[in-house]
Amino acid sequence: MLRTEEMLLNVGPQHPSTHGVFRLVIKIDGEIIKEAKPVIGYLHRGTEKLAENLQYTQIIPYTDRLDYLSAMTNNYVLCHAVETMMGTQIPERAEYLRVLAMELGRVASHLVWWGTFLLDIGAVSPFLYAFREREMIINMLNELSGARLTFNYMRVGGVKWDAPEGWIEKVRDFVPYMREQLEGYHYLVSGNEIFINRVKGVGRYTKEDALNYSLSGVNLRSTGVKWDLRKDEPYSIYNRFNFDVPVHDGGDAWARYQLRLAEIEESLKIIEQAVEQFPAEGEILAKVPKIIKAPKGEAFVRIESPRGEIGCYIASDGKKEPYRLKFRRPSFYNLQILPKLLKGENIANLIAILGAIDIVLGEVDG
């Protein structure tokens, strides 16, 4: 009988498949993971503490750097929290621009996930296709806000820029193009037998586990819980759009793969309707004071980011800086289930399981 010894293996923090600076210390017995210990904090910048010394407008560029794959939702959650405290009414046109920007960001974010997830498990070409389409979205957002990733686009009370000329038409034309490409993605990957065998049944957890670990977004919906804040607690103008919340009861990486692609489709539906309903003219910024002071008190708002529920808590003592600011960062919460999922798994499944959770380290570390 051959005797094997346990071994400690460090994965990361500089490892391309950990999507940033995530470190995982795993104890392996041959090929089987006995124990996994995530080590986080390599990208910690103390955004919440920094915010205590910044005016509300100054915090917006910092939120761009949390979940840098969908910075628009982060911009929104902060502005939404301050607006809730101040009771500001947002102009129609600004709301539509916000929704368009956020949904385009969601599509871009899911495209990055799709490309990198397949890259992680060994398929190179989907990454190139995903980035080709994502580049178009990034260019559109660049035209709108003046930056490719760190948009700093939303302001308390509205948005900074109006849509440039011809931008809405560009977005309108993008929707059918993206639908066609999405069909191509299904052709390329979704029907591939090798891929299906690779992800089916991998990283499976139950509905109870998901709820106990307070997972959100696709990670929760992949276990059959139909919970999407855009539908269940509509914020902004999401109640005006007709879209579905895709759910799957597989609970594995295959379910999460299908859900993310289905979500791109739903986002395209929202974009299509928003372009149709887009008001011809109007204000883009509500009447707000030059120096924003949230009234004394506290507020917590939550919205649906591509990764799950992102929340923002503000405690204010009536000054121009918040007394305390806290972000509920979905990647951080979704990552907590990882040690449980990895226990007893084959080491080859590690990257597939981690990839399927879809984390952004900027957000995990805060």
Partner: protein, 139 residues
Amino acid sequence: MLGLAKGLKYTLKQLTREKVTYDYPNKPLPLPDRFRGIQKFYPEKCIVCNQCMNICPTECIDLVGKKHPDPTKKGKIIDTYDINFEICILCDLCTEVCPTEAIIMTNNFELAEYSRDRLFKNLEWLDENDENVRSVNKP
């Protein structure tokens, strides 16, 4: 096997598509007017109101004003104006608050330098940085 063949067909179809990459840095990258690059500074427009310095989230702007040389005129004029591009995040807030549009974003984004000291840009440098200046600065 059918799934594999379908995937291969998709890949082959892409062969005939137009290429999407740019010949950068041999050709300049096309950028929209709103793009946020290194700032251009107009010393003659500046009224030393300190708003850009106060709004900067990373505190990378430093400025000093002096009395107007003409004693009949009120107010101050700019003496030194420095931006530290080691910490500037190009967030655009300085150009947003400037009442006289003395500071404006340009499309120049190539900031890489061999030495950290060279990332420290002074008034003369920012004044000379006058290519690809944004044409519409405020919404």
